[in-house]
């Protein structure tokens, strides 16, 4: 009875993990720029891989194989986040321009410093203590001091 339940639970986990993993791979192909692609891949690398390993873990049980699976998923989770962070930072410093939706709603590529300022403005205006004058002053400041890209 318990074994049957574990088998069905493992099937469910494997199915859900497969779906999430394929969704992440599709996002890797269809997203517009590198940062959104990273966002899509992170779905597959956390939820997809997590559910797949959980499904295998339910089959393996508390054995040496199960311990190895736990170590694999822990290593994947830690190294995946660190590698993604380094990749995003290197891309920003290399001058890759993030594609953002402007005020008109059109997708345009903009400079990295400008993108960071836009995101900061968004966060500031969503908080109740927003001040429109300082908002605008901050925006013009960063526009003057844009970091030049390496290329």
């Amino acid at each position: 009875m318990i074994e049957l339940l574990l088998t069905y639970l493992s099937w469910g986990c494997l199915g859900v993990g497969s779906v999430f993993y394929v969704i992440g791979a599709i996002g890797l192909n269809r997203m517009p720029d590198i940062f959104t692609r990273m966002h899509a891949v992170s779905v597959g690398d956390t939820l997809g891989a997590g559910f797949l390993v959980l499904g295998m873990l339910l089959v393996a049980g508390p054995t040496l194989v199960g311990a190895k699976l736990v170590m694999i998923i822990l290593a994947l989770l830690f190294t995946g986040t660190v590698a993604t962070h380094a990749l995003a930072r290197a891309a920003l410093q290399d001058g890759v321009q993030p594609v953002l939706a402007g005020k008109s709603g059109k997708l345009t590529a903009c400079d990295a410093a400008e993108a960071v300022q836009t995101l900061k403005d968004l966060v500031r205006t969503s908080t109740p203590k927003a001040d429109k004058d300082s908002d605008r002053a901050g925006h013009t400041n960063t526009k003057g001091g844009q970091r030049s890209s390496k290329r």
């Binding site: 494997l14 993993y21 791979a25 890797l28 891949v41 499904g55 295998m56 590698a83 990749l87 890759v96």
Partner: protein
């Protein structure tokens, strides 16, 4: 059910390879390569369970470490042009 998961991982690997060949910047290719590494680890584990011989997991564990080291090596090479570079002063002190 392991068959379904294996086929799903194979489809994801194919899509990642397509992105690696199409990718406009080097970072797209690197992201796809990292994704292929993760897929290879999952494929190794799933194939072991599929053939009732889950002894490939040690290879998978080694592959996780190799994957991250490889990504960092390529990242450092394309940022500085050399693997032995110590890093710029402003990059170490200034946070974006």
């Amino acid at each position: 059910m392991f068959e379904v998961a294996t086929i799903a991982v194979l489809i994801a690997l194919t899509l990642a390879v397509i992105r690696a060949t199409r990718g406009p910047t080097i970072f797209d290719r690197l992201l796809a390569a990292n994704s292929v590494g993760t897929g290879a680890i999952l494929l190794l584990s799933l194939f072991g369970f599929l053939t009732h011989r889950p002894e490939f997991l040690d290879i998978g564990l080694t592959y996780v470490l190799l994957n991250m080291i490889g990504t960092f090596a390529v990242l450092k090479f394309f940022r500085h042009g050399a693997l032995g570079h110590v890093g710029d002063e402003d990059e170490r002190t200034k946070i974006l």
